[in-house]
Symmetry: D2
Subunit: 411 residues, 4 copies
Amino acid sequence: MGLVSQVFNEEKMRPLVGHMAIGHTRYSTTGSSKLENAQPFVVESVLGPLAVGHNGNLTNAAALRRELLQRGVGLTGTSDSEVITQMLAGGDGRTWEEKLKVFMVRAQGAYCLTVLTRNALFAVRDPWGLHPLCLGRLGDTGWVVASESCALGTIGAEFVREIDPGEILMLTEEDGPQTVTRMPASHQAGCLFEYIYFARPDSVLYGATLHAVRVAQGRELARESPCDADVVIPVPDSAVPAAIGYAQESGIPYSEGLIKNRYIGRTFIQPDDRLRKLGISLKFNALAENLANKRVVLIDDSIVRGNTSGPILRLLRDAGATEVHVRVSSPPIRHPCFLGVDMATYPELIAHRLTIPEIQAHLGADSLAYLSLEGLIRSTRRDPGNFCRGCFTGEYPVDIEVVDKEVFEMR
Amino acid sequence: MGLVSQVFNEEKMRPLVGHMAIGHTRYSTTGSSKLENAQPFVVESVLGPLAVGHNGNLTNAAALRRELLQRGVGLTGTSDSEVITQMLAGGDGRTWEEKLKVFMVRAQGAYCLTVLTRNALFAVRDPWGLHPLCLGRLGDTGWVVASESCALGTIGAEFVREIDPGEILMLTEEDGPQTVTRMPASHQAGCLFEYIYFARPDSVLYGATLHAVRVAQGRELARESPCDADVVIPVPDSAVPAAIGYAQESGIPYSEGLIKNRYIGRTFIQPDDRLRKLGISLKFNALAENLANKRVVLIDDSIVRGNTSGPILRLLRDAGATEVHVRVSSPPIRHPCFLGVDMATYPELIAHRLTIPEIQAHLGADSLAYLSLEGLIRSTRRDPGNFCRGCFTGEYPVDIEVVDKEVFEMR
Amino acid sequence: MGLVSQVFNEEKMRPLVGHMAIGHTRYSTTGSSKLENAQPFVVESVLGPLAVGHNGNLTNAAALRRELLQRGVGLTGTSDSEVITQMLAGGDGRTWEEKLKVFMVRAQGAYCLTVLTRNALFAVRDPWGLHPLCLGRLGDTGWVVASESCALGTIGAEFVREIDPGEILMLTEEDGPQTVTRMPASHQAGCLFEYIYFARPDSVLYGATLHAVRVAQGRELARESPCDADVVIPVPDSAVPAAIGYAQESGIPYSEGLIKNRYIGRTFIQPDDRLRKLGISLKFNALAENLANKRVVLIDDSIVRGNTSGPILRLLRDAGATEVHVRVSSPPIRHPCFLGVDMATYPELIAHRLTIPEIQAHLGADSLAYLSLEGLIRSTRRDPGNFCRGCFTGEYPVDIEVVDKEVFEMR
Amino acid sequence: MGLVSQVFNEEKMRPLVGHMAIGHTRYSTTGSSKLENAQPFVVESVLGPLAVGHNGNLTNAAALRRELLQRGVGLTGTSDSEVITQMLAGGDGRTWEEKLKVFMVRAQGAYCLTVLTRNALFAVRDPWGLHPLCLGRLGDTGWVVASESCALGTIGAEFVREIDPGEILMLTEEDGPQTVTRMPASHQAGCLFEYIYFARPDSVLYGATLHAVRVAQGRELARESPCDADVVIPVPDSAVPAAIGYAQESGIPYSEGLIKNRYIGRTFIQPDDRLRKLGISLKFNALAENLANKRVVLIDDSIVRGNTSGPILRLLRDAGATEVHVRVSSPPIRHPCFLGVDMATYPELIAHRLTIPEIQAHLGADSLAYLSLEGLIRSTRRDPGNFCRGCFTGEYPVDIEVVDKEVFEMR
C-alpha cells in the first residue's frame, strides 16, 4: 500500500532475484484501495505457480464469479482479478496457452493481462482492444510489457509495438516474444477517453503520440467553434495540448491563467468546513495579470460531473476576465463507462441530466461548445469504425451486465 | 502481525459490530509468521461467507492439497488452514453441517476448528481429541469457545465443558450451543505434551487443573528417582509445579535458584559473537545464596534438544552448587510431533541421538533421571488408553504422510 | 519510543562505532512517556559534546530550573534530566570533574548519573546513596555501569562493586575506572523500597542478593505474625521469595495459588465496561485445587493503593479458600516518595487514609499483618542508620520542595 | 517527518485548540532532514513559552553559536534556528519586542521569522529583505503570515501586503497586526533567484506576479538573444512562463517538447547502474512529433550545475531536432548563495568553472545565450539598487563568514 516510489525501495527490490517479473499499480479511487485487492494475484495451481496482473473491467464478471462459487472455489476478495486468476487456475486446458484461449472465449469486456507462470510471461489484450498494451525492448536481451508506452522511457526501454487486440503474446527466456494466437473479435473498439484524458501525452497509441492527437483536437475545436477572444488558457495540466492547438489554429495567443496547487492534500483540508465550501477553487490560483480585462477562451479536455468548472470560472472572473468562453475538446459524456475507466454514474454525469445551454448556465459561461464526435475521431486519424463510443452514445461494444450500480469517481 | 494487545487496539475493535466473531493467535516459530498465513481464513462461497480458524496439523494435508489443485482451485498460501477452508467451501454437502461431516471423514490428524458462517459458529474437535477445545459461558447470554480454558477467566467467562473428541458443536443466536454430531474414532489420543509443557498451568483438561497434574508429576518423579540433596529448584517458569511436587514428596526444601531475564530480545544479542557463545545462560541469572555449597536437584519439565540444560548447569556450578542432579518430569522425547506441536526434527532431538548416560555426560550432571511413561500417565489420573504417545514411542494414532521434513523449533 | 528489544535492533546498532556509550530505559508511567523526555539528553557545550542519563528525582529541581531560566537558557522539556544537563553545560568549573562537583553541591535528592563526554564516561551517585549504581567488568578490557547488578549478567559482564554514595567515578580508555572524589553527606539513606519491590531479586545491594533479603523478610514476618494455616501462597511474581521464606520459617507448605495472565494488555480490555468492572481479578487466575477447603496465608510484598488485594481475595474465596490471612513483607506505606520511586500521592495511599483494621475490613481478610520497620531493616543485615524511611515515617533525608502535587502511579 | 499532507492529518489537527499557531516546512536537501532540526523550535524561557520558525541563513551563525556556548547554553542541534531561539530566550530585553530588536542588531544575513509567545505572534523580516514574507487576511477576524503569497489562496485567505524589510509585526488577538518597528538597513537586497526559480509563479513579490515577471524575462531574452527557429519549448515546469514570453516576443510558435515523468522516485532508480548512467534523461520524455526536423529554442530558467541540460539536449536530438538553441532566462550563476538558497558550492557551479562557449560545447548546443543581469533586473520593474546579486557577481550585501564549506544541492 502506498506510492510505487515508497513501496518498492531498494531494501525490497534487492533480494528479488530471477529473470521475469510482473507488477501492478492501481489507479486508486476513494475507498477501493484494499490490501486484498492488491495485484498481482498469486496462486499455486495444478500447473504450478500463477500470477496475474489485470487492467480493465469484465462486463460479465458477476456471472463468471457465480460459476466459480458453484464449482466450489472460495473467493477471498471482490476483484475481477481474482476471478480471472481462478478461471485460469481451474479452467479447461492442458497448457497455459489453452487455458488463456478458453478464458478469452468466456470473458466479455476490457482486459489487459500480464500472466506470469514458471516458464513464461504472457501479455494478453482483449479482442476489442479497448485499452492499450505495448511491448518494449530493454537493452539487447530484455523485454518489457506496459499499459502505456510512456512507461518505457522511464526505465530506458524502447517502444517496439502495441500488443494487437485479441493477441496472446508469450515471452520466454529462450525465445523472447512470440505470438501464440490472435483471437478474433466482431470489431475493434478502442477507448476514445484514452485519447482525451486518460493516457499520458507522451504515450503512443496506434502510431500517434497522444500529445499530437490532443493538439489536433484543439485545432478541430477551433475550426468547429471559433470565438472572438484575447487569450487561450488551459485547465492545467491535461488540457494544455488542446489549448496549444486551439491557439495555433485560431491565432489567439496562448497563455497560462491558472496555477495548480500541487500540495493540496485531501486530509489537510477536511477539518475545516469553510474550506470545504471554498472547495475546488483551492486547487488552482488565478494569474490576474494574464486575465484582467481580457476575453478568455478556457479549454478543458472534458466535463464529467461539472463540479470543477463552475468554481474555475468564478476564479477567472474574480481575477478580472471580462468574458469566459468554455471550449471542451471532447463531446458531452452522457453515459458511464463499464469497461475499465472509473468515471461516474448516470446521476452524476452533468451531460446526462442537463442540455448544453443548461450546462452553460450552470457554469456561468459566456458561451460553451463541445468538440463533435466526428471531430474527435478525425483527430485520431484512424478509421471511425474502430472505437468504443459508449460514454458518448450509450452504445457499447459488448453486452453490459449491470449487477450493482457502482459509484465511480473520476479525478 | 504483532502481539494481540498491540494489534487489537480500541481503534480496530470499536468499529466491529455483530454478535459472532472468531479470532486466532499463531504460536510463532522462526520464519513461519507471514501475513498470508494469518488466520482466520475468510472466503466467499456458494453458501455465503465462511471464516475458519484452525489449530493443529493435518497429517494428510499434502494429499488433500493435491486434490484441491486437481479440482482447479488456485491456492494462495501454504497453510493447512487454507486447505481446510477450500475443502469446506467446495466440498460435498448442501449445508455447513454436512460439509463439516464430510471434511471430518476425509481429514487425518489434529484439528480444532472455529468456523464462522452467516448464521452459525461451529466448534469442531478432531475425533482423536489430540488437542483441547472448550466451551465457556459469558454472562447470561454469551458463549465462547477457546483452545485452553485459562483464556476464559481472562475475559470473565466461566468454564462449561470441553468439546468432545469428534464433536461438531453449533452455536446460533437463537439456540445457543447444540451438538450436531459426534464423529466416531477408533480410539482417543490426547496429547501428553499438553500435560507436560504446552498448556498453561491454570487450564483444565479432562477435569484436572494442569498445575495439579504437574505437581503430581513431580511427586511421581520423586518416588521413582529420589535423590540425596539440599534444595529443589525449578527451571523457571514451566517446571515450577513439578519442582513443588518433588519438594513436597521428597521433603527436600523448595527454593528458587534461577531468575529469568524477561527482557532478553533476540535481535539485541545478535550483533555480538561473544554474546552468542555465552548463549542461553544469558536467559537466566543464578541466585548464589541459594546454591553455594549445596547439592541441588534441578527439575526440568522436558529435554527436547538439550541446548539449554548444559549452560544452566554451568551457571549453577559457577554459583557454587557442589552437586547437580537433573530430574525431568517427562520421558525422553525420541520422536518428532506431526500432530500440531512445533517441536523438533529427528536429528535435533537429543534423546534420539544419545542414550540417557550420554545425555547425562553431555549436560555435565551428577545424575539424570526421567519420569517413566507410566508415571506420567498415572499423574493424569486418566485411562492409559486415551493418549497419543508418539513423541515418546514413535507410535502415532494416525498414519503420518511425511512430505517434507520440516524443521520445527520449540522454545 | 518502544521496548528496548524492538528499538535497539541490529539495523540501528550496527552503524554505531566508538568505544564508549550510554543508554537509558525509562520506567514508563501512564502519560509521561514523551520523545522530548527520552534520555540520554545530548547537547553541545563549551567543553564539547555532553550526554547525560539520569535516574532519580531532584527535590530542588524547580528552584534549579528557575535559576536556569533566569540565566537565559531556554528549556525544551520538563524533565530533571535537561535541568541537570544544562547545569553541567553552563555551570561553574573549567573541567567536567569540577562541574560535576559543583553540581553535587547544588543538587538535592536522588540521582544516579552516567555522563558521557568526549574523553571520559562518568558514573555519579548522590551522597545519600538513595538508589543503586554498580560497576561491572566485561571481558579483559571492558567496563560497564548499571543501576542494578542483574543487568550485568544479561550481557555477560561480572559484578565488581557498587559506586559509593557521593562518588564520582571516571572511566577512560587509557586508565579504566578511577575515583575522582567522594562528596560527603550528613548521613546515608538507601531506599528501603528497593529491598521490598523495586530491584530485581537477582540484583546485589550492599553485598546481599535481594532474593535472600526478601526470603529473610518472609522469615521475619513469620516470626512476627504467625498464622494457623494450611498453605502459603504468594502474589506472583514479586512476593514469591517472601512467601518461600514465610513457608520455610513457619513450616506451612509453600504452593502456588494464583497464575498471572501475562498477556493482558491495557488497550484490549478497555472497550468493554463489564471487563473494567471485573478489573484487576483478570490479571490472575486462581488454582482451585490448591485453595479449595484450605486456610491460606497470602503473602504480598507491599500494599500501596489497595486496589489489587481485594479482588485477589475474592478470587481465592471463589476458588474455595476457607480463610485468607494476609501477610505483607513491608510496613504500611503512609507517605509518597519524592526521591525517584513513582509510587502514589497522599490521597491514593490506603495506609494514609485507613487504619490497619480498616484496611483488613476493606480487603475482606480474616487477618492482616505488616512486617515491622525494625523487622524489615533487620532483614537487610545493615546498620539501621543507613536508610531512607520516608514512605513509612514521612521523615525524608533531604528537604522536599513540593511544587506541584504530581500524581504518580505504581504497578 | 514526511509530507505536510501525510503528517498533519485530521487525527493530529483535531486535538489542537487555541487561536494562534505557527508551522514550518523544510525544503529538504539530501541528508539534512533530521528530526532534531525540525521547526518550530520550542522552549520554555524566563518570559514564558517561545516557539520560533525560521527561513533563511544567518551569515554570522557560527560566531553567535560560540557566544551562546560561552554563556553556558548547551545546544542540542546544529541549526540556525536553535541559535536564534536561544538568543531570544536569553538575550537582553525585558519584553519580546526588545529582545527581537536586540536580535536584529546582532544577526547578519537572511531571516524570515514567525515567533509565537503566550500573548502574541511576531512576524520578522531581515532589514535587507532578502526573502519574501507576507501578511494575509482570513475571513473577518483571522490573520495569516506566509513566506509566499501563493500559500494564502490555498487556505482561502487574501493577500494584504508584504512584511517590510526590517519590520517587526506583532499580531495579537485584541489588536490584530501592528508594526512594532522597522529596523533600518544600509540598503535593500531582495533575492533575484526568487524571481527566476524559487518562488512559485502565482506568488506576488513587490506588487508583481512572478509569472508575469518570468514572461517578461522571456521577452527580454528574445530581444537580447534572438534566434532563427521553428518552435520554442520550455524545460518544464519552471521555464514555461519564460518560454511563453520568448514565443510572444519572437513570434516563433510555443509548444511542448518534453513531458516530465512525475513518478520517478530516487530510490527506485538506484538499484540499477545502467539506469544511473541514463540518468537525468529519465526525468523527461521527448515528444517527437513537435521536434522532428525542427529547429528548437529550448528555454531554461537557469543553469546551476549543468548536469541536466546535456542529457535533455541529447533527448531532443534523438527525437529529431535539427538544431537546438539554448536560451537561459537568468545570467550565469558563478557564486554560491550563503543567504538561504540551497544552491551549490563553487566547484559544482558550471559557470564558475567554464566560459560560456565552453558551456555551449559541454551541452552540445548549437548556440547558447544567457539573459543579462540588466535584462533580469529590468523584468522586475524595480529599482536596480534593491537586489542581492551575490550569485551572479560575488558581491553580497553582508559579510560572509565561511566556517565550513557546506555542500548544497539544488534540484
